[in-house]
Every structure is written in structure tokens, then in C-alpha cells.
């Protein structure tokens, strides 16, 4: 691991410069160990693909002492230290072109049928590498066969809940935002709800599966979510 100062209040703990489940597991294991053991002067951490950004209070710890502690924890950071992940089931409607408006285009680009794309997409267990950029947005891996170049022309608006693929990743947009990913379907769940006691649904390390629902079930769940009576399936 490498330690790179990020100004006077943070240090970036960097693992191998690649996107992989193995490297990201080290990041999350270090994050977990920090939370479990506690580190003097440490304020908060931000995991990402291959780095952990550690915010600290320089009045409470010296930079060298902090790095020494983190180095010792990083040496133990592997999958063995992590508790079992949460399993999250996300309902997703692929069967309405109004919601999954890029499904046909993605299928054509991948030389697959619509059914094959949906079967591949629902048959995979996704790892959330981390949540980042805008509130509640999960960065996930994706089935290899669904690896696809991003849209030639990014769209300026993607509706909230859009389940999409781009590169070797799957992503869900929590808020109306610009995007260059192919939208295969939409989940009626809110990934970010500022009025909820826990505004964000997903966390780094969660395992996600998509459950195929039809438009009628989509509308029913969306109504229950709006009424705050829907309980997401998290094990």
C-alpha cells in the first residue's frame, strides 16, 4: 500500500491501480478494520475501487502515527476479516420500453436477444464496490458478457432508478442525472430518499440481485414506496 497526503485533513491509502474484486476487497477490509478497532483522530473514511480516503483531525493525531496504524491494519486487510455481506434484492422492470429504453439497443450491440440480456442481468450477483459521486449511487461489477462501450452521446437526463450498464459496470441512478450508460430497466425503489431515517439504501460491500417484475408490479411497488409502506428485501 501507498500513502498519499490529501491536504492537511486527509490521506489516501492506495492499493493496486486496477478495478478488481480482490483489490476492492482489501479496501473494504481495511475500512471494516478501522471501524471495528477504532483509530485515534480518525474522523471518517470513503472507500472507492482501489483506495480508501481517510479523513482525520491533525489536532488529535500526527500524520506519521496515523499512517503507521493504518499500515499495520492494511497488512491484515483481506476477505477473512469481513463479516458476511448484506444480500439485497432489487425489483427491476425490463419489460417496458418506456423504462428500459436502451434494452433493445444494448441487445443489438451485444448480439444477444432481449431475453438473453435480461437472463444474464438477473442471473448475476453484483458486488457494490462503493457508493459514491452523488448520494446513494452504487458502483457495481457486471457479467462479463454484458461488457459494453458507453453511449456515443451521453444523455443529459436519466430518470431516477434507471438500472444501466456501461464498460464492465452496472449502475443505478439515484437522482435525475446525465449519463453515458445503457438503461436496461428501472427499479421502483428509491436509492436516495432525503426524508427517510436512512436516506441511502445501499452500502459498499452489499451483494445485489435483480428480480424481474412486470409493469403492474412496478407500479404497485412504486406506490408502496411513495406511501413508505414498502420494505426492501435485505438479508
Amino acid at each position: 500500500v501507498r500513502f498519499v497526503p490529501a491536504g492537511d485533513l486527509a490521506v489516501s491509502v492506495e492499493f493496486d491501480e486496477t478495478i478488481s474484486v480482490g483489490v476492492n476487497t482489501s479496501v473494504r477490509a481495511l475500512d471494516y478494520l478501522i471501524g471495528a478497532k477504532g483509530v485515534d483522530g480518525l474522523l471518517e473514511t470513503v472507500p472507492s475501487f482501489r483506495a480508501l480516503l481517510v479523513y482525520y483531525d491533525p489536532a488529535q493525531t500526527s500524520y506519521d502515527a496515523l499512517c503507521d496504524t493504518l499500515r499495520a491494519l492494511a497488512a491484515q486487510s483481506d476477505s477473512a476479516v469481513l463479516p458476511p455481506p448484506r444480500q439485497v434484492e432489487l425489483p427491476c422492470c425490463y419489460d417496458d420500453p418506456e423504462l428500459g429504453f436502451d434494452l433493445a439497443g444494448a441487445a443489438a450491440r451485444l448480439a444477444l436477444s432481449l431475453e438473453e440480456v435480461v437472463t444474464l442481468h438477473t442471473g448475476f450477483e453484483y458486488l457494490i464496490y462503493f457508493v459514491g459521486f452523488t448520494p446513494g449511487l452504487p458502483y457495481m461489477d457486471s457479467p462479463e458478457r454484458l461488457t459494453i462501450a458507453r453511449l456515443d452521446t451521453p444523455r443529459t437526463k436519466t430518470p431516477p432508478g434507471s438500472v444501466s450498464i456501461g464498460g464492465a459496470q452496472c449502475c443505478i441512478y439515484p437522482l435525475d442525472s446525465p449519463g453515458g450508460f445503457w438503461v436496461l430497466g428501472r427499479t421502483p425503489l428509491k436509492l436516495y430518499d432525503p426524508g427517510a431515517a436512512e436516506p441511502t439504501l445501499l452500502r459498499a460491500g452489499d451483494r445485489v440481485r435483480f428480480r424481474r417484475i412486470d409493469r403492474a408490479e412496478f407500479d404497485a411497488i412504486a406506490a408502496a414506496v411513495e406511501a413508505r409502506t414498502y420494505r426492501p428485501v435485505i438479508r
Partner: protein, 309 residues
């Protein structure tokens, strides 16, 4: 109780911000100029993290509906109480019915208003700070508007009269100390020399998320994309156009653009007060020096406020 008569273009409720939520990509929010904010609270007899107002370029007009103490700091916005001039950077006693107005900023960008007790809005994820983009915290997650009513938390004793030893001068120019990195190796020598050797102009598109600057191009070695990673407070992101963006309190938690350096936290208050068209320069220091300057800054803040009218 405070009733808003005119909100001004962007007035939000802030406390010192949210800690521990960046992992869910919820930013800390809080005041951009933390120093001026904290001083306002101390002048009003509050704890540093009491909720007050951040006012941008033009202040609000409001009515106090009960006795309270108030203090205004930050950008130089002329303060009047019932039309009569009142001092900034000092405790002001208000009685029921007093109408306070903060005018347009003569210098600086962001003014802070603290009320004794602090503003009473719900604590969301550990903080009362408003994050407007995420519709979170403050008053319904939004900027203030006309006819909003702000309750104040009770005080145990009236705030004594206080003032500051010095009033900062906002000259619309600031030298900012930076620590090089996180991706210094992704920039050419000339690129980093450009950053450290030239003034950069503040652009009007700047906001609480980031200060957008314009100046000589900061050249990359090979492209501007990185594997997305965490963006520190003050991180200077440089996208493909070579123009720097200093990321602030409402920043995105992570990003995929190269970062050339990080502005030290104790210099962000001065950056916060540079108007569009104003200029900033950057000077590189090592982490050890940054921490020694940070200690000096804490000492100077601790003695900024003195007793007496």
C-alpha cells in the same frame, strides 16, 4: 423567533456540517468560510456548531420577534437595524420587532449570521446543515424564502457583548497553500509549474460544490481519467480542459478526474470570499508545514474574539 422578510439570492441554514456520511456520498455541507462562521457563533455566545445563516453576495432582511443577540461576520454586507447602521464582527442586541437588513457584499462573497441559541431545525444525520442539491437538512432541505419562520433554541444566559480583535480585509485576491497530489504524477512538470506560477481567475459558475477557476492550462501526461477515488476537501480537480476546480463543502464524494493538489483547510475561508473575477495563486507546501500552520490557525482563531463592546 426570526421571520424572513426577504431571503436574498442564496441564504441557507448551516452548522459546522455532517460527519460520517461521505461514504454514502452525502457531503458534509456546512459553511464554506468556517472561520467566519465560528466567529459569528462565538460573538453570539453560542457553541461553534450552532446553526446560523450563510448569505451569498446579497443578504436577507428579517424581523426579530423576540429578544436575542446576533452577530454578522464574513463578507462585508452593510448591516442595519431599523435603518440605523450596526456593527459587523460584534455582538448586536435585538429586541422584539427589530428589522435587520444585510445589503449587497462590498467585499467578499459569503456573510454569516448567528443568533443566540442557534436556529432550531431538525437534526438530520447528525447535523442541521442544508444540502440543497440533495434536499437534505436545514429548513426542508432548501434555501430560505420570504415568510420563513426560524425558531431559536433557548439560551441559559444573555450573550455578553463581544467583538473581534481584527476584521479581515477581503481584497479579492488570495494566496492558497496546497499540498501536491493526489495524482501529481499524472501532470507534466510544466502543468504543475503553470498551477504554481500563475494567478487563476474565479469564475461566476462557482458554488458551494466547487470553485471553478480559469487560467493557464494545467497539462496532463496521459489523459485526465483515473479510476474513481475519494475527493478530499479542497481537492483541485483538473478535467480535460486543464482548468482547475477546487472542491468544497457540497462536493461529490468521489470522482474520476485527476487531482493535482489539495488546498489546505485553513486557506479555504479566504478562497470562499474571492468574488467572480478575483484572483487566486497557489503555493506548494509539505504536509508537516501544513500541520504546523493549522496549529497556528487554531491559536489565532481561539483568540479572535474578545470580551467587551
Amino acid at each position: 423567533v426570526i421571520r424572513i422578510l426577504d431571503a436574498g439570492p442564496l441564504t441557507t441554514i448551516q452548522d459546522t456540517g455532517r460527519v460520517g456520511q461521505l461514504r454514502f456520498a452525502i457531503p458534509p455541507s456546512g459553511p464554506v468560510d468556517r472561520r467566519a462562521f465560528v466567529i459569528a457563533n462565538r460573538l453570539a455566545g453560542n457553541a461553534d456548531n450552532a446553526a446560523g445563516l450563510e448569505c451569498t453576495l446579497m443578504g436577507p432582511r428579517f424581523e426579530a420577534q423576540a429578544v436575542c443577540a446576533m452577530a454578522v461576520t464574513g463578507a462585508t454586507m452593510p448591516v442595519t437595524v431599523n435603518g440605523a447602521q450596526a456593527p459587523a464582527w460584534a455582538t448586536i442586541a435585538l429586541k422584539a420587532g427589530d428589522v435587520v437588513k444585510l445589503g449587497a457584499a462590498k467585499s467578499g462573497v459569503r456573510a454569516y449570521v448567528a443568533f443566540s441559541g442557534g436556529i432550531d431545525v431538525p437534526v438530520v444525520l447528525g447535523s442541521r446543515a442544508t444540502y440543497v442539491r440533495g434536499r437534505l437538512g436545514g429548513l426542508d432541505g432548501r434555501a430560505l424564502k420570504r415568510d420563513d419562520v426560524l425558531k431559536l433554541l433557548p439560551v441559559t444566559a444573555p450573550a455578553p457583548a463581544r467583538r473581534t480583535r481584527e476584521v479581515p480585509e477581503y481584497t479579492n485576491e488570495a494566496e492558497l497553500r496546497v499540498v501536491i497530489g493526489l495524482q501529481a504524477d499524472r501532470f507534466t512538470k510544466d502543468g504543475i509549474a503553470a498551477l504554481l506560477g500563475n494567478p487563476y481567475e474565479m469564475l461566476p459558475q462557482s458554488d458551494r460544490m466547487g470553485a471553478r477557476l480559469k487560467g493557464p492550462k494545467i497539462d496532463h501526461v496521459k489523459g485526465h481519467d483515473i479510476i474513481s477515488d475519494g475527493i478530499p476537501f479542497g481537492g483541485i480537480q483538473v478535467p480535460g480542459d486543464g482548468q482547475p476546480i477546487v472542491l468544497l463543502v457540497d462536493r461529490q464524494s468521489t470522482g474520476g478526474y485527476t487531482k493535482v493538489a489539495t488546498v489546505c483547510s485553513f486557506d479555504i475561508p479566504r478562497l470562499a470570499q474571492v468574488k467572480p473575477g478575483g484572483r487566486v495563486t497557489f503555493r506548494a507546501i509539505e504536509v508537516a508545514e501544513a500541520h504546523s500552520l493549522s496549529r497556528e490557525d487554531a491559536v489565532s482563531l481561539a483568540r479572535a474574539v474578545m470580551e467587551g463592546p
